[in-house]
Structure formats: structure tokens, C-alpha cells
């Protein structure tokens, strides 16, 4: 189950810093350790850099997750159509891909040209 917590508009480079910081704080307060805080903040930051770099703008939604005793953090970032190609390249750039930083990294197609990236990280 996901409980929505916060929404950010993604329009300029300052939004990268603001959203990354929110991700880091939320991760810390959920109980993630320092290294996982960095993994989560970096993954979200990198996706947002792709969205803003492409010029499409978008949004980021944060939520807490619960699955029985497990807790986690979810961030959904939306952007334009070219996001798929950009993120596909970024996520497959192993071993440094974004997907290595989170437990789940999924691309979803919305209505029209809108794309979304769903990232989830679970507390171990």
C-alpha cells in the first residue's frame, strides 16, 4: 500500500536540489541508513536531471510504502515522451545504472506522450 506524501513540480535545475534533499530526508526519517539515503537521493536526482535536461518538465510524487511488516519509499517521476529513451540508456549503463541504486525501477507509459518512472526502495 502506498500513502502519498508530497508532490514537486520539475521545471528547473533548482528543483533537482530541492527534490533530492526531500528524498534524502524522507529516507532518513523512514529509517534508511546513510548509504541507502545516498542511493535513493542519487537515483531520484538523476532521473529528474534527465527530465529537466530534456526540457519537458514534469512532476515527482513521493509516498511511503507498506507491505506487511516491510516499509519502503516510492518516488514516481513523470515527464515527456523522450524520457523513455533517455532513461533506457541511463538505466542500462551498467554497472553504474540508476537501477542499481533502488530495488525497483520501472518505466510506465501514460496517456499520450506522458511517461513515468517508478522507483522503490525497501527497508532491509
Amino acid at each position: 500500500m502506498a500513502v502519498s506524501r508530497k508532490r514537486f513540480e520539475l521545471a528547473n535545475t533548482y528543483d533537482i536540489v530541492q527534490t533530492r534533499q526531500y528524498a534524502r530526508q524522507m529516507a532518513r526519517e523512514l529509517g534508511f541508513g546513510l548509504s541507502d539515503q545516498a542511493r535513493i537521493a542519487t537515483a531520484i536526482s538523476e532521473v529528474i536531471q534527465q527530465i529537466i535536461g530534456h526540457g519537458s518538465g514534469g512532476e515527482a510524487f513521493f509516498a511511503t510504502l507498506s507491505d506487511g511488516p516491510r516499509q519502503g519509499l516510492e518516488c514516481i517521476c513523470t515527464g515527456g515522451a523522450a524520457l523513455a529513451q533517455l532513461l533506457d540508456a541511463a538505466s542500462s549503463r551498467l554497472p553504474g545504472g540508476i537501477s542499481r541504486l533502488v530495488d525497483e525501477f520501472v518505466l510506465e507509459h501514460g496517456d499520450g506522450e506522458e511517461m513515468a518512472v517508478v522507483m522503490r526502495k525497501w527497508l532491509a
Binding site: 536540489v17 524522507m26 546513510l34 545516498a38 538523476e46
Partner: protein, 133 residues
């Protein structure tokens, strides 16, 4: 005598600012501008935490981190990478090298650094209020 904190930073202005902030928190702080010298100093007189820039002369911050993490004298030290390099590959390289924390140099860098030092019990904790709810 060992310092609480060793700063490894080749920018004089950034190093001095960081040193001032940490000393204001009551910590003893040493500073070196060079990666190779940092490894020599830290393994000889192990600090509680090493704050490491990535772009450094002679030995970059990732290699400093790896050298300290694998040396018996500093294997348990807190290693905090503080850097402008904020891409996925950089973070993964830093954490794989043994970094305890990876903090980008942005508007929140100082606050995040102090918070990390509190979480590592190097600084006393502050009361925490949920800010994301």
C-alpha cells in the same frame, strides 16, 4: 594526538569553511589538500571520521576511500565523500569503495554533513521532527 575529523579537500576556501563549521560544533579538525598525504596521515593517526572530496591531486577521493577502508588502522572509520559529482556512477563507485556516506556539494551539503555526523554519533543528536509528512 589524532583529530576527530580529517578533511581532505584541495580547495582552501571550502576546507577552511568546513573546518570552521566543525570546530564550532566542538570537534578537533585537521585538513590536508592531497589524497596520498591523507592516507598517510589517517593511517598513522586515525581520526573518527574522514571527509573526502573526490577530485583531489595524486590520489582521487574514491581511491582514498578504498585505501582507508582496507587498512586495519582505518577500517572502522567513518568515510564521508563530499563532492560535486552527483551521478549514479559516482555514487556507486564511492559506496563500492567503502564510503559510509555520499553527500553532494549543494545548498544542503553542510546540513547533511552535520546530520550524518550526528547519525554516526560523532556529534550529539538533535531532536528530530518529521519534515516530509
Amino acid at each position: 594526538m589524532s583529530s576527530d575529523i580529517l578533511i581532505v579537500e584541495d580547495s582552501l576556501t571550502q576546507a577552511l569553511r568546513l573546518k570552521m563549521i566543525l570546530e564550532r560544533e566542538g570537534l578537533t579538525v585537521s585538513w590536508v589538500p592531497n589524497g596520498r598525504v591523507a592516507v598517510e596521515l589517517a593511517t598513522e593517526k586515525p581520526p573518527r571520521a574522514v571527509i573526502i572530496d573526490v577530485n583531489l591531486p595524486e590520489l582521487d577521493g574514491f581511491k582514498v576511500c578504498q585505501a582507508l577502508r582496507t587498512h586495519p588502522a582505518t577500517a572502522e572509520a567513518a568515510l564521508i565523500l563530499l563532492t560535486v559529482r552527483d551521478h549514479a556512477q559516482d555514487t556507486l563507485t564511492g559506496l563500492d569503495a567503502g564510503a559510509t556516506a555520499y553527500i553532494p556539494k549543494d545548498d544542503y551539503a553542510e546540513a547533511n554533513l552535520l546530520q550524518a555526523l550526528r547519525d554516526l554519533a560523532i556529534l550529539d543528536p538533535e531532536p528530530v521532527e518529521a519534515s516530509w509528512g
